[in-house]
């Protein structure tokens, strides 16, 4: 047991991918790898937190992977999503044969590994490297189709990613110049001693860097294009893993560096605008992938609003919402993969053009969950967030979220009405056994967390505590008592 496995095993796997392909065990080994990592995460849920794994030399000098409550929740989401997608991929490649299947697995596993690296690393420069690993994997995966659209989305993502990484590198350099360290613990300790103007500049650069990748409003015009150009399982990963990893880093640094009091309102307003604009834009979409991309952006907007509140209850609710949103969006995009393959179209009409009771039910469950309607898991998250806002007497935020949610409901229920409309021409869609199982598991989780939220709330509370009061994290990151 070591946290290093989360990164090193996928790395070995990706180095050896050509040979796995040669012996024909590519798919199986990828599933096995993701299963192993998921099981390891399950073991970690039973251990005391935080956990630390050292590399070479103990922090604050060296780099370490630290697992606290906050990262545990994300680790669960990421490894679980990875497992689900790796189980889904054999069907996908059977349905859409590609020559470069091996390379897909390589990038897919490294995408998860990079995201996990970002949430575990306690060193900002190391974090930047994982940021780039995730970035390169996502650029390539979005261009994976190698057609016009795919390449266009790959190029766009690459350009945006380069801007983001330049700002982040600049910020890291300024930090090192100012306080001579890249360890998150030490930075957190010394951050207030940075020259105030430079500290604003650093924060601004980190904000632009991670905010761009986390798809915040004025910097997210590229995001729907990326979703449109890439394949559905990758959309699912972008929505439920990658975007969440950037969000993780954003708020990890936000609270570690103690920026919450100064920039809370700013982040909240930006989140609110993101939410508003995305949901309104989604109304006008006819491409199904873009539609759910906007919906993802909107949900990220709510999450940004809720995460910045500095109150444990709200953040716990936001984490709950994040988890359920990850599950729902994964479900939606995996289902879209099936539908797009069967109906050979990306228009929104495909959602009204299929006949499969099972798919209809799971899609409806995930839609209702995203909308925050009980008894599905999205409701718990939303009510906790709203409760948190109300408790801090921020009634404007409550009203805002609810009003925009109605806009959100318009397009979700338009789709539901489309699916239920019997007058449309329907194509019978057979879901494979494996897909049946995957989607059923995801839908079951949505229902389970909706009717038995304590199961997940335990972890979200842990996570919120760890995020807002990172004292334990800091002692480990500073290497005290190791």
């Amino acid at each position: 047991m070591s946290l290093g496995y989360y990164f090193l095993l996928p790395v070995i796997f990706s180095f050896l991918t050509p040979y796995f392909k040669k012996i024909g065990l590519l798919r199986a080994s990828s599933i096995l790898l993701n299963l192993l990592l998921f099981l390891q995460t399950l073991v970690y849920t039973m251990m005391s937190l935080p956990q630390i794994s050292l590399f070479s030399i103990k922090p604050p000098l060296g780099i370490a992977f630290i697992l606290d409550g906050y990262s545990l929740l994300f680790l669960l989401i990421f490894t679980f999503s990875g497992l689900m997608v790796s189980l889904y991929m054999p069907w996908f490649f059977k349905a859409n044969p590609r020559r470069d299947e091996a390379r897909f697995y390589l990038f897919f596993n490294m995408l998860i590994a990079g995201s996990i690296g970002m949430i575990l690393s306690c060193d900002i420069f190391n974090l930047y490297i994982f940021f780039e690993i995730t970035g390169i994997c996502s650029y390539t995966l979005s261009a994976y189709n190698k057609d016009k659209l795919g390449l266009e989305s790959g190029i766009k993502y690459l350009i945006i990613g380069s801007i983001a990484s330049i700002f982040i590198v600049f910020a890291i350099m300024l930090i090192y110049l100012q306080i001579g360290t890249v360890n998150l613990g030490l930075i957190a300790q010394r951050f207030h001693q940075i020259d105030p103007k430079i500290s604003v500049l650093i924060v601004l650069m980190l904000f632009i860097g991670f905010g761009t990748k986390a798809e915040l409003f004025p910097m997210n015009f590229w995001a729907p294009d990326i979703y449109q150009g890439s394949i559905s399982p990758v959309n699912g990963l972008f929505s439920s893993v990658v975007a969440k990893a950037y969000l993780f880093v954003f708020f990890h640094l936000f609270y570690l560096f103690g920026l919450n009091s100064k920039y809370m309102l700013f982040v909240m307003v930006i989140g609110a605008i993101t939410f508003l604009v995305s949901e309104f834009t989604a109304l006008n979409q006819t491409n199904v992938k873009r539609l759910f991309a906007y919906s993802t952006l909107g949900q990220l907007g709510i999450l940004f609003m809720a995460f910045s509140t500095n109150s444990i209850d709200t953040v716990s609710g936001a984490l709950f919402h994040l988890t359920s949103h990850s599950i729902s969006k994964l479900l939606i995009f995996l289902t879209l993969g099936i539908l797009i393959h069967k109906l050979k179209s990306m228009k929104i009409d495909i959602l009204g053009g299929f006949k499969s009771t099972f798919l209809t039910i799971v899609l409806v469950i995930s839609f209702l969950s995203v909308l925050g309607i009980p008894p599905f898991s999205g409701f718990i998250g939303k009510i906790l967030i709203l409760k948190g806002f109300a408790l801090s007497h921020n009634y404007a935020a409550v009203a805002f979220i609810l009003l925009v949610s109605i806009v959100e409901a318009i397009y979700f229920f338009r789709i539901i009405a489309m699916m239920l409309d019997k007058s449309r021409a329907k194509v019978i869609v057979n879901v494979g056994v494996m897909n049946y199982a995957i989607l059923a598991v995801l839908a079951a989780l949505i229902v389970l967390f909706g009717i038995y939220p304590s199961l997940l709330l335990h972890y979200t509370d842990l996570a919120a505590n760890a995020l807002l009061h990172p004292t334990n994290y800091l002692t480990y990151a500073l290497g005290v008592g190791l």
Binding site: S2, G4, F7, L8, V11, I12, S14, F15, L16, P18, Y19, S53, L54, F55, S56, I57, P60, L61, G62, I63, R99, D100, R103, L106, F107, M110, G117, F125, N126, I129, F130, E132, I133, I136, C137, Y139, T140, A143, Y144, K146, Y176, L177, Q178, I179, G180, T181, V182, N183, R190, D195, K197, I198, L201
Partner: protein
């Protein structure tokens, strides 16, 4: 006409903006107080004797911040795979062209290549003693192949061997990290003997030269692959246009 004007206006505004940003950045960075803390690097310098590596940068790269380098190698590997994914489809059709290289070019490029490779290997294995190391040496090795390609566009590298080199060296690197975990309970632990007295010798520093050699092989093969893909790509296009 109107559009042109607009464009020019945009350029002027943006250049003004850039200059304004430049000036304010200069103003900001000039008045920066120097760091009052002891940087991590200074501490590393003090600790560096323990690693028995003469080159402090190397020990930082491969040991103190070793996981960075694993990541870095991975990034390069991923980029190579990405390039291969993108450009490999056109690779097959480009074989038709026959254009013999001249004898002088043939012999000369191979002679030079061996020297360059030797130089690259030297840089790699002396990475812990002198400036240089796996990355630099690997790139030098790749330039040898670049030379070959320039001399003879028909040449192709054996992908099997390159992939093997890539995969094995990369996996061996990770294995070294994992052995550290098993032997010293710390990932990338320096489990090989590295007596301080041997500092400056070719065999010194424990795993550090081993890692750099592995990195050298990996970077060399990867850069060669990238070079090949781009060169062939270019060649392919010329043929395609003609």
């Amino acid at each position: 006409m109107n559009l042109k004007k607009e464009l020019r206006l945009k350029h002027i505004i943006l250049s003004l903006l850039s200059s304004a940003l430049l000036l304010s950045f200069l103003g900001l960075l000039m008045q920066v107080k120097t760091n009052t803390y002891k940087t991590v690097g200074d501490i590393f310098l003090n600790l560096n004797m323990q690693t028995a590596t003469a080159n402090a940068v190397t020990s930082v790269v491969t040991f103190f911040r070793g996981i960075d380098t694993v990541g870095e190698v991975t990034v390069l590997f991923l980029a190579t795979s990405g390039v291969a994914l993108m450009l490999s489809s056109t690779q097959r059709t480009s074989k038709k062209v026959v254009k013999q290289e001249s004898f002088v070019l043939h012999v000369g490029s191979r002679l030079l290549m061996s020297v360059i490779i030797l130089f690259g290997v030297y840089i790699v294995i002396h990475g812990h003693l002198s400036p240089g190391g796996g990355f630099q040496g690997g790139v030098v090795i790749a330039t040898a192949f670049l030379l070959l390609f320039l001399a003879n566009p028909n040449m192709s590298l054996s992908h099997g061997i390159l992939t093997l080199g890539e995969s094995l060296s990369g996996s061996a690197y990770v294995l070294v990290a994992l052995i550290g975990l098993f032997k010293m309970n710390i990932l990338l632990g320096n489990f090989l003997p590295h007596p301080v007295g041997e500092i400056g010798e070719l065999v010194s520093g424990g795993i550090i030269p081993v890692i750099y050699i592995l990195v050298g092989i990996k970077v060399g093969s990867e850069m060669s692959v990238i070079v090949e893909y781009f060169i062939k790509e270019d060649y392919y296009k010329e043929v395609y246009d003609a």
